[in-house]
């Protein structure tokens, strides 16, 4: 999912940073230190969970979980993902510094959208909650794939087909992520339902 260095044009890189800076500013402004600690710990969860191999057919995939982060953090998903991706670049050389802005935006923007679209569903019981969680997981991955594909396509016309292939390749991951997030939310609803009643 992360675009590596040397692929995107300076214009796309600059736009990525500008949009991420705006999102991060909004995220940090609305977050006091109490919520910032929660943001940090959830960013750590995102980092660790993204290393989990989930079997899918003949192979396995890594979970994205940007939707889940968006659900709990809202706009704070921007700084959380920025830091998590920076740490991935430092520890695993996954991504890089120049592409950090666009990679963060690709994941955080859909996460924030899902926060506003689906968080109210999670406060309701039964099928509505499960549907909301599934949609959050699936749509956030779809959104990230679309943003990544658009970034590639805008960078160079030679990447248009690569972008389309990337989108199609993410279809099974979308469905899997939707299922996993639905199962996670179902577990949280049984064990600590108050976490699903968002006040922000």
């Amino acid at each position: 999912m992360h675009i590596s260095e040397g692929v995107l044009s300076p214009t796309v890189l600059a736009c990525g940073y500008a949009l991420t800076a705006a999102g991060t500013y909004l995220g940090l402004r609305r977050t006091d230190y109490s919520r910032l600690v929660t943001t940090a710990v959830l960013a750590s969860v995102f980092f660790v969970a993204s290393l989990v191999h989930v079997p899918l057919g003949p192979g396995s995939v890594h979970l994205v979980l940007n939707g889940l982060l968006g659900l709990f953090l809202g706009w704070a998903a921007f700084p959380a993902l920025l830091i998590a991706l920076l740490l991935q670049a430092v520890f695993f050389r996954y991504g890089g510094l120049a592409v950090l802005g666009i990679n963060t935006f690709d994941m955080a923007f859909p996460a924030v959208l899902c926060h506003y679209c689906f968080r109210s569903w999670l406060g309701k019981a039964g099928v509505v909650r499960i549907a909301g969680a599934f949609c959050c997981g699936a749509v956030s991955v779809a959104g990230a794939a679309v943003c990544t594909a658009l970034a590639l396509a805008f960078a160079n016309e030679g990447f248009v087909t690569s972008a389309r292939i990337l989108l199609v390749a993410h279809l099974p991951i979308m469905l899997l992520e939707g299922c996993i997030v639905a199962l996670m939310v179902s577990y949280i609803a049984k064990n600590k339902p108050e976490l699903l009643h968002f006040t922000q």
């Binding site: 040397g6 890189l13 230190y33 910032l36 929660t38 899918l56 030679g158």
Partner: protein
Amino acid sequence: MSSTAMHQTDPRALLLVAGGAAFCLSCLQSLVVSGTGLALAAIFACVCAPDWRSLLKRLLLANLFVLFIWLTVPWTMPGTDILIIGPVHFSREGLLLAMGVTLKCNAILLIFLTLTADMGLLQMGCALQKLHMPVKLVFLLLFTYRYIHVIAEEWKKLQTAAALRGFMMQTSFHTYKTIGNMLGLTVINSITRSHRIYEAMLLRGFSGDFYLTTELKARRRDIIFVSSCFFVLACLLCADLYVTCCHV
């Protein structure tokens, strides 16, 4: 500049050069200049990198996306056919684009890996704070780093507990439900823990101002290092501009 000297360099200088190199090299359009950039980065890595084998291993991992580009671009980008294998037409433009990406990506990564190999997270946090990044962002960086290890350990314990009861990962609803439950538990524990961490901060008098005690002192050699690197990058950019204009 040996790896020991790199370790002694002000982390602000290292981050500025890493960031500057990433942006400047991303802007290059000419293959010749990109190749020159890669050669210079390789020489820099040879002189300064602490561990060549680890560097190469990380470089390989990072080239997975580049591999994706090689597998998709040369035969899908329209242009002058350079190779035809059955129904598949490889275009010159596609090959050149993939080559350019490969050269630039590896040049940027070699520099980034070399500069940050010995940098601790605390040093990075201090450097970012001194470079006027928002304090809350630095706070987030250091706290996230701190708790990655805690959560990773807890996750390992959950995996072990499941494995001890015969759990094996397969493409099945049982597997997804188990992973969902384990991740759900991790999220609950993490959010609960975060409240207690904040309480621990309050219990030690925290009242909204976050400080780091590590001082950074830029020396003349750090300024010379940054200036020299930026001079080289500027030369590469000028050369790229010249070569691109000549071809146009």
